[in-house]
Symmetry: C2
């Protein structure tokens, strides 16, 4: 990970998925930051990502809409916090675009919990060491995220990302 | 204000204090970003700011402790989001240091509402055009902040800042 870390892990409150994948970090970065690519892998099938807005700068909007197999749509609103090309992407759903706090209604119904996501990538041989982190405000939110299947969900999405990246 | 704005005002949800003050923006910046100076003006008297930690970078800690005339201490935890020297300072109490979401306990007891603060300064003759903005997630939070005395509180603090800056 970069030496200039902007965050600090707390094993009690945070969740981490770390893998080495066989695509370049440039492709991983593009898969995370270009809507037409992100929509191809972001949501474990048979769910789909049907909308995606990316304004790639601190304070910029990160919005997706996930559609369940039954056709129900689930919007996710977030704000980018740190954008270091080919190295680290940080966003949170505790803020909306323009650094505005999420509304109380959003904050309590949101996903249903608040987290800050960090994707950290570094070159590893011909591939990439990929680290996905979710920071939470307390242990309860972390536990809930874990029980909702953080490892399986983010792991399956990563496998989909790699499969898609090989076609890019 | 800078052309590269990272936020967008919403009259229904945001509060704005705009004044021209007769000290340079370099002094205003230092008064906001150096703990020994901030502690001198930040809290309308007879309240006091008795502790202050500033880690001046996106993701860095902004922490103060205010003491009431009765001696009760009120800590405030926040996270810097944007730091553009002598131009714009943005932080929020919706996040803690390292971009971590505020804990649910903190988020519901916090101040008692969440906001993102923006201090925007630009040269104006020999003085400074000073704009302080509080972004809220919804109208209820904005109304509550207004009723708690945003205009008077931030205005009085600014007068204290100017008086202190003249001694710097």
């Amino acid at each position: 990970m970069s030496s200039g870390k902007s965050f600090k892990l707390d094993p009690k409150r945070d969740l981490v998925l770390e893998r080495v994948v066989e695509v370049s970090r440039e492709l991983v970065w593009r898969a995370w930051t270009e809507p037409e690519h992100l929509m191809k892998w972001f949501t474990p099938m048979p769910w789909k990502t049907v909308e995606c807005d990316i304004d790639l700068r601190p304070g910029g909007l990160f919005r997706t809409v996930m559609r369940s197999p039954e056709g129900q749509d689930f919007p996710n609103l977030g704000c980018y916090l740190e954008v270091i090309k080919n190295e680290r992407l940080v966003w949170t759903n505790a803020l909306e675009a323009g650094f505005r706090p999420a509304s109380a209604a959003e904050a309590t119904s949101c996903g249903p919990f608040l987290f800050t996501g960090i994707i950290s990538i570094e070159a590893h041989g011909k591939g990439t060491k990929y680290t996905a982190i979710a920071l939470h405000g307390d242990e309860a939110a972390s536990k809930q995220h874990a029980e909702m299947g953080f490892q399986d969900g983010w792991g399956t999405a990563l496998e989909q990302l790699v499969a898609h990246a090989k076609t890019m």
